[in-house]
């Protein structure tokens, strides 16, 4: 059955997407300096800056690897030199909404691995949580430091109209991209210092300091001067640049599984001065690979015995194990209810209306309207494995239909969203392109967000896919003080 119609979620809304620099037909006041600058800057000058930015990113090694594309090796994420401007009022809304959401998600994770009050209250059907393949039974009863499970969360939000933001997805496992947020800012500061002088752009450079402070806060009890490390799968991982970047900026060791060992439920790193006790691990490794004794036995990336040390409370893992159950697309539907249940508040940010295909009514509607909808795998990520109905061919839709029918519970569907657009410098000149936004929410002593985020932009005209693995690019995101 159709979900309630929202004005900006019409099936073919792409053609009428909200242009973020405009409000009620006019130019937003806080965008005037950027607009004036764009009018005064030639396409040739922008192209020179684009090339300069590309050189800068190349020299600094700001690259990522695309899986299944061995020939390409490392790639640059395309960077757009035109920044995205978010008003401080809008930012406050997004910030408040993201913080609220992460507080609720942390409470949810702590609850489902302990008393399961939300399930007993019938707010969320128990089978949807306990039967979820990402629910980690081994985490039941595990006390995590500060009851923080999602130390670092990436909340994907979209804007569809002035000050109307929706949450598209929560990322509570190993959200990536924050290094691009920081490097984009560094590049813009270098390329266009005059713009920074003209406006009051909120600073984001302190993100690594906040991250380290939060990680230290969540150290195991009784640890005075904790050793924090970043655990990476290794230099072949697509996000290795980010792992190295964060370790370098925090001044901590970047370790791989082979560098760590567990002795009597304590974790140590092999250093040239002998074993070094490790207290906090910011891991960028999926749960499955963390510990071959507890999870996938064929993992060469993990640390045997790590989960036992974790259960014993001798090491903090950030993010915690078992977070996947809270950020998959089936659980996403219930986040507003979580907010009401745990916080007693109304959600600041709405969810995108979502069809659950395991529900026969929703399924029938979706199968009839595949050409209008976006269908996603419940456990999917990175823009892989989804169907964008309006742009898919008939054959692609039919193939997807067969997949849905084979296992409907693996899918959800949403209306094709009218992602807002921002001016973007492309081959044809400056043109509107669809964008989303990923603020990074840090939890520790408190839940906080630096005033900025990663803006991902779909560089192809009309495309709604912003993922870097599929041709998306990034922009610097400026939270600016109101012009008044």
């Amino acid at each position: 059955m159709p979900i309630p119609t929202l004005p900006h979620l019409s099936p073919h809304a792409r053609g009428v997407a909200y242009h973020e620099m405009r409000s009620d037909g006019g130019l937003r006041p806080d965008c005037k300096p950027l607009d004036a600058w764009l009018r005064a800057t030639s396409a040739e000058a922008l192209e020179r800056k684009r090339i300069e930015a590309q050189r800068l990113f190349t020299r600094r090694g700001i690259t990522f690897a695309v899986y299944g594309d061995e020939s390409e090796g490392e790639r640059l994420i395309p960077f757009d030199v035109i920044p995205r401007i978010i008003s401080s009022a809008d930012w406050k809304l997004v910030q408040r909404g993201c913080v609220q959401r992460v507080r609720a998600l942390n409470a949810f994770l702590n609850d489902i691995y302990h008393d399961q009050e939300i399930l007993r209250a019938g707010v969320i059907p128990a089978e949807e949580v306990l039967g979820n393949k990402l629910y980690c039974a081994a985490m039941h009863g595990v006390e995590v430091s500060g009851q923080v499970h999602a130390h670092i969360a990436g909340i994907d939000v979209i804007c569809v109209a002035p000050s109307q933001w929706y949450v598209l997805e929560d990322n509570l496992r190993t959200p990536s991209g924050v290094s691009y947020m920081l490097e984009n800012r560094a590049a813009m500061r270098r390329l266009f210092p005059e713009l920074f002088m003209q406006q009051r752009i909120a600073a984001i450079d302190h993100y690594p300091d906040l991250l380290l402070r939060n990680l230290i806060h969540c150290r195991p009890a009784g640890t005075e001067t904790p050793t924090v490390v970043v655990l990476s799968p290794g230099s072949a991982n697509s996000a290795y640049f980010e792992h190295a970047y964060l370790a370098e900026r925090m001044g901590v060791m970047l370790v791989e599984g082979q560098d760590l060992f567990v002795d009597r439920d304590h974790v140590y790193a092999h250093t040239i001065d002998g074993p070094c006790r490790v207290d906090v691990i910011y891991r960028r490794l999926d749960d499955d690979f963390l510990d071959p004794l507890a999870f996938r036995s064929d993992s060469l990336l993990g640390v045997p015995g790590l989960f036992a040390a974790y259960r014993a409370g001798h090491v903090t893992l950030a993010n915690a194990v078992g977070n996947g159950v809270a950020d998959d697309k089936a659980t996403y539907i219930h986040v507003p209810a979580m907010i009401r249940f745990y916080l007693g508040e109304e959600p600041v940010l709405s969810n995108v209306p979502t069809y659950k295909l395991k529900d026969p009514g929703d399924r029938a509607y979706v199968l009839e309207h595949l050409e209008d909808l976006v269908v996603k795998e419940v456990h999917g990520c990175g823009g892989y494995g989804m169907l964008i109905g309006p742009t898919a061919s008939q054959a692609e839709r039919e193939a997807y239909r067969a997949r849905i029918l084979a296992d409907p519970s693996d899918f959800i569907a949403q209306p094709t969203l009218a992602l807002s657009t921002c001016p973007t410098f492309v081959a044809q000149g400056i043109a509107p392109r669809h964008v989303d936004l990923r603020p990074y929410v840090l939890s520790g002593a408190q839940v906080e967000v630096v005033p900025g985020a990663l803006t991902r932009v779909a560089l192809k005209e009309g495309s709604l896919v912003v993922n870097s693995s599929q041709g998306g690019g990034t922009k610097d995101t400026w939270v600016v003080a109101d012009a008044s």
Partner: protein, 356 residues
């Protein structure tokens, strides 16, 4: 306040980064000299081309033998400089510098990392066509300049443990390269105080290959006799790249580690120092044997570091080497055992988990 501890694995990565950097520079210097010699009409009739001799250090025998006969300088240059299948080629060495630096990135300075990464960006397109377009000398000069540039970026802001690993790698590689280079020419010398014209050319090429050309030119009265040049390369007190000074400095760095796990390495380095000091330059027949022993001690240092310090899980300290087994052979072998330089360091591993 204390420095971030240095992981054993990253110590190895820094060591390999330094070795490959030194090797890149060394390849550029030696190939430059061999290339110049190969352009001389009076060198072309030599039974083995100078480039082929250099290739015996930097390429597996099978790769050399796979080249069409007679081996042309162009094919040897391509093998030494840009052949992707040859782990000892300049291209592979520069890539290895960068890959090891990428892994050790959080422990390096931004300037050092960006210098190394920039060089790789410039080098990655090198192929036979690029060699032809740019010209051999341009590529080799560029390499030497870039290596100096990186050395300049290895500054005092690196963590002391990282600096030490870089020094150890550089010195061990420098010793290894020089001993192998000497091994190529030592079998040839005739025992006379003054060199013949061709032999003098060869030895001056060795001096240039060791990076000492400028040094020699600035020495007033530097004796261009064979013992004089060997003295310069092996035991000159003033010359920092002389084997004696390199091995003494290496020993200092290893002792500074104060690691029981590398006691065997310190011991091997001590023996190396003694060996260098003990070379009797008046008895040139004994030099090949001494070089052979030096190579074995270098290999022992290297192996001891690999297993005692760089391995993620160092086992028990290595046994102290049996001095008797490292004693000079009773009779000098006919020529030093020159084998291809070791390779190692960063390799691709399982790493295919996804961030979101």
């Amino acid at each position: 306040v204390s420095h971030t501890p240095l992981l054993s694995r990253i110590a190895g990565t820094c060591y390999w980064m330094a070795r490959y950097l030194e090797r890149s520079d060394h390849i550029a210097r030696t190939v430059t000299q061999a290339y110049w010699l190969s352009l001389r009409a009076d060198e072309r009739d030599a039974p083995v081309l100078p480039l082929e001799r250099i290739a015996s250090i930097h390429a597996e025998r099978s790769l050399i033998e796979a080249l069409p006969a007679p081996r042309e300088p162009g094919a040897l240059l391509a093998l030494l400089l840009v052949e992707r299948a040859n782990p000892g080629s300049l291209w592979c060495c520069v890539r290895a510098v960068r890959e090891n630096a990428r892994v050790a990135r959080p422990m390096l300075t931004n300037v050092l990392w960006e210098s190394i990464n920039t060089i790789w960006i410039e080098a990655r397109g090198l192929d036979p066509d690029a060699l032809a377009t740019r010209g051999i000398e341009d590529v080799l000069t560029w390499t030497r300049q870039r290596c100096q540039w990186i050395r300049g970026a290895i500054d005092e802001f690196l963590p002391p443990a990282v600096s030490r690993m870089i020094r150890i790698g550089t010195r061990l590689e420098r010793i290894d390269n020089l001993v192998r280079l000497l091994g190529l020419v030592i079998p040839e010398p005739v025992h006379r105080p003054c060199l013949g014209e061709r032999l003098e050319r060869t030895w001056l090429a060795v001096v240039e290959s060791a990076g000492l050309g400028d040094w020699v030119r600035r020495q007033v009265g530097c004796e261009r006799s064979l013992p004089g040049l060997v003295q310069l390369l092996v035991r000159d007190r003033e010359q920092p790249r002389a084997l004696a000074n390199l091995s003494a400095a290496l020993l200092d760095d290893l002792e500074d580690l104060r690691q029981p796990a590398v006691a065997s390495v310190v011991d091997a380095a001590e023996l190396l120092t003694e060996c260098v000091r003990g070379v009797d330059l008046r008895a040139m027949d004994a030099v090949p044997g001494a070089l052979d022993r030096m190579l074995r001690l270098v290999a022992q240092c290297h192996q001891g570091l690999q297993t005692g310090l760089f391995s993620p899980a160092p086992s028990d300290p290595l046994p102290i080497p049996d001095r008797a087994s490292l004693a000079p052979p009773a009779a000098p072998p006919p020529s030093p055992a020159v084998a291809v330089l070791p390779t190692g360091g960063q390799e691709q591993r399982q790493g295919q988990t996804r961030d979101h």
